[in-house]
């Protein structure tokens, strides 16, 4: 995916302002920034769900091809009807179907269910599951779409630690398989620990882009998030925790 000088305006005011971003295969990008920084808008514009100025390689594809190029997990866990888990995950096969589901489609659904640890949930009603289980079902739906690129908007918000770690691990595995993954995320600790690259947005602009340790430097944190953080390189990787507010005049 390649974005060039992407700008989204609400009225006159730019919400996303001249963003350039290229996502390569195998990258797991964390899109970070305070509330209102433009993370959600950037993802939606990149997919062509919003009118925008500039270039997006995804949005310029025809609708059907776009759906085979990128899967999108919107914010929130919005499931309108009490559908079965297997049926819901099978929705991800929609872009690939010419007629009825084939054996290959069913195999992709089974694979996605297994991958999210949902094999025992096939016949359950999606709306009757807990928040963490629903999040896994929705991720499985996106996995069943089997695209080279996955864009996810706050996929781990409101989940318990086990579910959060499980989801982040799956995203990292997808990247390791050679797919591109972009996740908008508020939890800087999870982002630092799992993502291969962080892109920090503030007021619609990219203010930092690079390896987590560099992006989460003291200056960016203070300017953009108004916090100080604690970093530690551990055998498990980078550990990061925001620990205190800094004066806004910094």
């Amino acid at each position: 995916m390649k974005l060039e000088n992407l700008t989204v305006r609400r009225g006159q005011c730019p919400v996303v302002d001249g963003v350039d971003l290229t996502v390569a295969k195998g990258e797991f990008i964390g899109l970070i920034g305070p509330n209102g920084a433009g993370k959600t808008t950037l993802l939606r514009a990149a997919l062509g769900l919003l009118p925008f100025e500039g270039q997006s390689s995804l949005a310029s594809l025809p609708v059907a091809a776009r759906a085979r190029a990128a899967a999108f997990l919107p914010q929130g866990r919005d499931i309108a009807w009490p559908v079965g888990v297997a049926d819901l995950v099978a929705l991800g096969r929609g872009p690939h179907l010419a007629g009825a589901m084939t054996g290959a489609d069913r195999a992709a659904v089974d694979h996605a269910l297994d991958r999210m640890g949902l094999a025992g949930f096939r016949a359950r009603q999606a709306t009757a599951l807990s928040g963490g289980e629903q999040a896994r079902v929705l991720i499985a739906r996106a996995l069943a779409q089997d695209t080279p690129l996955l864009l996810a908007d706050e996929p781990v918000a409101g989940l318990d630690p086990e579910a959060q770690l499980r989801c982040m691990q799956v995203f990292a595995d997808l990247a390791a398989e050679g797919r591109g993954v972009v996740v908008a995320i508020h939890d800087l600790g999870l982002a630092a620990r799992h993502c291969s690259r962080l892109v920090m947005l503030d007021k619609g602009r990219v203010v930092a882009d690079g390896p987590p340790r560099a992006v989460l430097g003291a200056e960016h944190l203070a300017q953009v998030f108004h916090v100080r953080g604690y970093h530690a390189e551990t055998p498990e990787g980078l550990v990061f925790q925001p620990i205190a507010l800094v004066d806004r005049r910094y």
Partner: protein, 330 residues
């Protein structure tokens, strides 16, 4: 999968049975074998006339009107992601009714038989233009609902105005009775006029299954799964207007079918809109056919109106569903 198919088969059988019942039950008290033979072979003067000109159109219209209401209710609920949507929501029913009321009031309906259904179809057409002007090609679900409410209110006010200013008490009575919805005294002419629109509308709505399935996960997710929402909305509005407009034109306003039927069938077919659409068409047909047989059995002398019965049965049933839902949620 198989469960959905089983339900569809069962509903199909039920519809066939009720269609036969609708052909065989009536005030003329014809024998079973006589009436069927007359229908098929055309032998036996009076019996043929009753079967082909009175009962057959009534049964066919019951089947079509019911299917239209069930199907369009399910499609609108799927599109708006809301179980409270019903076929009248986008304003088609009320504008079609206003068209018919105007035909009755001006005496056109009395002057020539097809004036009423044609005026109703024209009314439905006007509502489509209004909806498209108000809710636009890019308008969201909320714009559609609000436009529908505004159009319904306007058409309702128009109907009230006609009644209010009507100098002719007979026209008023006729209008009020017509608005209750009925299949009595319809001819094959009504079938030939209404069926093409209803079938075309249903054909459009039945193509929406996969798009509505994807909408289960919201508009953004559906679009990212390759659903063209603008196109889906056009097809939905056009299909609903054709089908529901024609059904109001030939049968008047038959309430609650489009609301209750998808609601009842949803848990039985596993809630996926693509499976609910055909099931609701069959379920709607079964409900209207059953109600139309019931009005003939309950009060054969009194011309009990179909729409009165569907609301009388449908509303308490709906209350019962809400009651049960409350218990589950509590």
């Amino acid at each position: 999968m198989t469960r959905g198919r089983g339900i569809t088969l069962a509903l199909g059988g039920l519809v066939m049975g009720l269609f036969l019942a609708s052909l065989l039950i009536g005030p003329a008290g014809l024998g079973l074998r006589d009436s069927l033979r007359a229908l098929v072979t055309g032998q036996g003067e009076a019996v043929v006339l009753i079967m082909r000109e009175i009962r057959l159109p009534r049964a066919v219209l019951g089947l079509l009107v019911g299917a239209v209401l069930g199907l369009s209710g399910a499609a609108l609920q799927g599109f708006l992601r809301n179980p409270l949507a019903e076929p009248g929501l986008i304003g088609v029913s009320s504008t079609a009714a206003l068209g018919a009321v105007l035909a009755l009031q001006t005496g056109l309906a009395a002057a020539f038989a097809l004036a009423l259904p044609l005026a109703a179809l024209a009314g439905a057409g006007v509502s489509v233009l209004l909806i498209l002007a108000l809710a636009g090609p890019r308008g969201g679900a909320l714009a559609l609902i609000l436009a529908g409410i505004a159009i319904s209110a306007l058409a309702g006010a128009g109907t009230s105005l006609v009644l209010n200013l009507s100098a002719n008490p007979f026209a008023v009575t006729e209008i009020v009775y017509w608005m209750m919805g009925s299949l009595a005294d319809r001819s094959m002419l009504h079938v030939w006029l209404g069926a093409p629109f209803m079938l075309a509308g249903m054909a459009l709505l039945l193509t929406l299954g996969r798009g509505l399935d994807a909408l289960t996960l919201g508009e953004d997710a559906a679009q990212a799964m390759g659903v063209r929402l603008t196109r889906l909305r056009w097809v939905l509005i056009l299909g609903t207007a054709l089908a529901v407009g024609a059904s109001v034109a030939v049968a008047g306003a038959v309430g609650f079918v489009g609301l209750v039927v998808p609601h009842v069938l949803r848990p039985l077919v596993g809630a996926m809109p693509s499976r609910l659409l055909p099931a609701s068409a069959l379920g709607g047909a079964a409900m209207v056919l059953a109600a139309d047989v019931a009005v003939r059995l309950i009060a054969p002398e009194q011309d009990l109106k179909l729409g009165v019965l569907t609301a009388l049965v449908g509303a308490p049933f709906f209350l019962h569903l809400i009651w049960r839902m409350r218990k589950v949620e509590a």
